[in-house]
């Protein structure tokens, strides 16, 4: 294994790694713009130049590979490469490159959405010059829409070409290209093919400066006012890792978070803009009971008592309906609540999309189908017939909040029931047909674990506060169970639920938030050695 020296650090590295990767892995900062680990190396921004001893020019560290050199060519008798990232030559060069990049830049950080997470701002602050020597007129261009959700501010663009490479290599749609030449170069979308693919939002994520902006977020907030919560996307069973940015009780944007075992660096626009669906919904924020055509409010104690009573009267004639939109913990408790039959609502399906880079959008648009099937209990295939066969007279439904058109079979079933208890955060059609509605949490309020279609258990974390009297869904189920089985040890917190879950289902043994961390654990055991 080659031995190299970066600044004063001696490091053993795998042959074939780049200087940039090695430096980053060892806590040495090398500024960079055009380099993105998921994209082909072009080495054009020239920001990551370092000095390699024995080479006449400064080298771009993103494309300088470390390898073994023969003993007679080792530097100082032992190093395969000696690299300087902090010496005067390198520091001066960074300053020069930043000067070039800022020549025509409008320096409009105070009104720029990227401010606060901008590599141009950060590096200028760290490595740049405090004043400009440029006395000429700046190049000024109007903003343009590249697609319906992406706008480009050409004046801020540094032409790193990450976005162009993204559309070529990751989405494979090639809408973007560099137009014109030299100083007149600019990013453009093909006339007849605007940037409207389902991965388009990623270009705003990977833009290192404030050039590419999502119209959804533009001028909505300042990044330092937002709370960043790492979580998992809930819009399909792939389970892309995301960061949710919120303030008070509002989400402002989602960005992809790196997870090499799931989504790489990217996410799709269905998930990215999906949070808006939950903004204007008719929320249920307190327990309610039907009274004729209307509902009346109840307090929690009464609601739980009534629920438990109804179930106990009907006993095994109560069917429970789990949900692939709910966490493993909620589904687990639903399964454990009592004996009897389990079912699920019709799935939410969409088009399956596979991109050349391997990125995919699953046909199953629920986040936790795998978890539900793993952990809830057996769901018979002909569940609807079983309802008849077993003379089921009551339903306990974990509602997923999705407004679906229920077919006549379902409508018949609902009409025939003596009682329907719906645990829901929204006034869906199902909730409207219920006798008791127990207010659960909306997707961005929930915490728990979900399992993606590849069997990776991930930590779903809340970015929004709980509304009204609503309670976490697992807690509602725990309360009902406590009422039904006062002799049993009640569930106090979610980690206790997870422990129980692991005890009943060995595949989920030892699952805890701590162990899931930010990237989750595979049930296949491949990455958990």
């Amino acid at each position: 294994m080659p031995l190299i020296k970066i600044d004063d650090k001696e490091i053993q590295v795998e042959s074939g790694t780049t200087v940039l990767q090695t430096a980053e892995a060892n806590g040495i900062e090398i500024p960079q713009y055009c380099y993105h680990p998921a994209l082909e190396i072009v080495g054009s921004c020239r920001m990551c130049l370092v000095q390699v001893e024995g080479m006449p020019k400064l080298q771009v560290s993103c494309n300088t590979f470390v390898g073994d050199v023969p003993p007679d060519r080792k530097v100082e008798g032992k190093y395969d490469m000696v690299i300087h990232t902090q010496n005067n030559l390198v520091v001066q060069e960074r300053k020069n490159i930043l000067e070039f990049l800022l020549l025509n830049h409008p320096l409009d950080c105070p009104v720029c959405d990227q401010a606060g997470e901008c590599l141009l701002q950060d590096y200028s602050f760290k490595f740049g010059s405090a004043h400009s020597r440029f006395e000429e007129e700046k190049r000024v261009r109007p903003n343009e829409y590249l697609g319906s959700q992406i706008v480009i501010n050409h004046n801020r663009c540094i032409l790193c070409s990450r976005c162009v490479r993204f559309t070529q290599e990751i989405s494979g749609t090639s809408e973007l290209f560099v137009e014109a030449r030299g100083y007149k170069s600019k990013i453009a979308a093909l006339e007849d093919r605007p940037l409207d693919n389902l991965l388009a939002g990623n270009v705003a994520d990977i833009c290192p400066v404030g050039a590419l902006l999502s119209t959804d977020y533009i001028h909505k907030n300042r990044i330092w006012n937002l709370e960043k919560q790492p979580s998992v996307c809930q819009d399909c069973s792939v389970g892309c890792n995301v960061d949710v940015f919120s303030r008070k009780n509002q989400n402002f944007r989602l960005t992809a978070r790196e997870n090499q075992d799931v989504n790489g660096y990217f996410m799709c626009d269905i998930g990215r803009y999906g949070f808006h669906r939950f903004e204007e919904i008719d929320r249920v924020v307190q327990p309610m009971m039907r009274n004729g055509e209307t509902f009346e409010a109840l307090d929690w104690d009464k609601a739980i008592q009534k629920t438990a009573k109804l179930i106990e009267q009907a006993k095994e004639k109560t069917a429970r309906i789990g949900s692939p939109f709910h966490t493993n913990e909620s589904n687990f408790l639903l399964g454990q609540m009592m004996a009897g039959i389990l079912g699920s609502l019709p799935p939410i399906l969409g088009e399956e999309i596979n991109y050349p880079s391997g990125f995919r959008i699953s046909t199953d648009r629920s986040p936790n189908l795998r978890g539900m099937t793993d952990i809830c209990g057996e769901i018979p295939e002909n569940f609807l017939f079983e309802l008849n066969d077993r003379n089921i007279c009551g339903l306990y439904i974990l509602d997923d909040g999705v407004d679906r058109d229920l077919d006549d079979v379902w409508k018949d079933i609902l009409a025939r029931m003596d009682f329907v208890i719906v645990q829901s955060y929204a006034m869906t059609d199902l909730a409207k047909s219920a006798h008791i509605v127990l207010p659960g949490l909306a997707p961005f309020e929930r915490e728990g674990t979900i399992t993606n279609d590849q069997g990776r258990v991930q930590w779903l974390r809340p970015s929004l506060p709980v509304q009204g009297e609503a309670k976490p869904d697992w807690e509602i189920l725990a309360l009902v169970m406590k009422e039904m089985h006062p002799e049993q040890q009640p569930m106090q917190d979610i980690s206790q639920v997870m422990k129980e879950m692991g005890a009943k289902f060995p595949a989920y043994k030892d699952i805890s938030f701590f162990r899931l961390g930010s990237t989750g654990i595979s049930l296949n055991g491949s990455d958990e050695a």
């Binding site: 020239r46 130049l49 020019k57 070039f100 170069s185």
Partner: protein, 432 residues
């Protein structure tokens, strides 16, 4: 020197010199006959021994370049004939394509055979329409006569030649920019490594050679490496086409041995400066070489290494002559403008720096310059193309040598004709 007999352009003044029958009548394609019976490795060795250096601009030894082709690869190998001749002041390849297309084709077949290539390309400058037609004809004729295609001259060797027209970009003369363009992409030079000999066209081993370089090959095969080496300086020998333009009585292409003195070229071959004016400055190797003052120019031989020692380069051997009437600031702006227009826009320093230079020089010419501007031009050129002075640090700061190609000449103008730049400053601002 007077005994030198042109090699590449020996027949260009004869009628029908471009035809296959004429070329054959003067011994054309006899080198190919010979090569097809040789071992490819021996052909490479012969070219290595001849010390033939690239005629496109960089002057890299052709045989050494061929030697970089991996021996143990199953990938197809490609030869690309770089006929994108786009360096200002250079017009020798055009002449060779017009007058001796078969000499060039024979060279291509020899090179292709040596590196084991079965498909080769001619990337011809888009503006060269007449030359394109000429090559099309020559290639068709060569196919007809079994000099190209299957089983060339009964040898079991197959080679196809495809002519591809460029679309008018200077940067597509840079070999990796050319390869990108040939692949149908934007002509943005690639970052190296990998070098084209390892991963070039379609990620396969590729050799890019200049028209003139290839045209030398039949002669090296026929007359031997030693003969070639005997012409001019041993480290960079051979006949060379010098393109002389600008303020001379008799501009044109002159074939002379490598190492001829610049003085000789300008005052003897090109007939000196018109109207009895004095020589002021010369670009020895196209507009991307650092300019030489009259004094320097009169004391230099046109040899790769000697010109490097003088802080310039032989480049494409495009000699641009300027007399005392030329305004060096305007000339400098002209050059800067050309390079700003042709910068591909990929690397930060070149894209932004070239335009900055133009803006600054324009302001200077318009009478709004300041004394600091002149120092700034130095700094900017250093920041684009790096220092020429190795002892002071790095040089070459961009993916391809375009950065140097603009930095060196502009810098040399300011360095060598600083007083003319000072004259453009508004008078009250000049500090004695």
């Amino acid at each position: 020197m007077s005994a030198f007999k042109p090699v590449l352009t020996e027949y260009i003044h004869q009628k029908d010199c471009h035809t296959l029958s004429f070329y054959k009548s003067v011994g054309g394609y006899s080198a190919l006959d010979k090569v097809l019976k040789m071992n490819p490795a021996d052909v490479i060795q012969e070219v290595k021994d001849s010390n033939l250096r690239g005629r496109g601009g960089a002057g890299f030894p052709a045989g050494v370049k061929w030697g970089f082709i991996p021996k143990d690869t199953n990938k197809p190998k490609y030869l690309i004939n770089n006929a994108d001749e786009s360096e200002p002041g250079t017009f020798k390849d055009r002449l060779l394509m017009n007058k001796a297309p078969h000499q060039m084709l024979e060279g291509m077949i020899i090179a292709a055979y040596a590196i084991g290539c079965q498909t080769s390309f001619i990337y011809i400058r888009g503006e060269f329409y007449k030359e394109y037609k000429m090559l099309e004809m020559a290639v068709a004729k060569a196919y007809e006569s079994n000099l190209l295609g299957q089983n060339i001259l009964g040898s079991n060797y197959n080679l196809d030649v495809i002519i591809h027209r460029g679309a008018g970009a200077y940067i597509c003369g840079e070999e990796t920019g050319l390869i990108e363009s040939l692949e149908g992409k934007r002509g943005w030079p690639r970052i190296k490594p990998p070098f084209p000999a390892i991963e070039g066209y379609l990620q396969c081993p590729t050799i890019v050679n200049n028209v003139e370089t290839l045209s030398c090959l039949p002669h090296i095969i026929n007359r031997g490496a030693d003969w070639f080496k005997s012409i001019g300086p041993e480290k960079g020998p051979g006949p060379r086409l010098f393109c002389i333009s600008g303020r001379v009585n008799n501009p044109g292409v002159f074939e002379e041995p490598m190492g001829i003195s610049l003085n000789n070229l300008i005052f003897d071959r090109a007939g000196g400066i018109p109207d009895g004016k004095n020589l002021k400055a010369v670009f020895p190797g196209g507009s991307s070489s650092a300019i030489l003052t009259a004094e320097e120019a009169l004391d230099v031989n046109m040899d790769f290494d000697e010109l490097v020692e003088k802080g310039s380069m032989l480049g494409s051997a495009g000699v641009i002559v300027m007399d005392e009437t030329v305004d060096m600031v305007q000339a400098c702006l002209n050059i800067a403008r050309f390079y700003a227009h042709e910068s591909c826009g990929q690397c930060t320093p070149c894209r932004e720096g070239t335009a900055w230079l133009v803006k600054m020089l324009t302001r200077l010419v318009n009478g709004s310059g300041t004394p600091t501007d002149i120092d700034m031009i130095f700094e900017i050129t250093d920041n684009i193309g790096g220092l020429i002075d190795f002892s002071k640090g790095s040089f070459g700061k961009t993916i391809c040598p375009f950065g140097e190609a603009v930095a060196w000449p502009v810098r040399s103008f300011v360095e060598k004709f600083k007083d003319e730049f000072l004259k453009y400053l508004p008078q009250e601002k000049v500090i004695a």
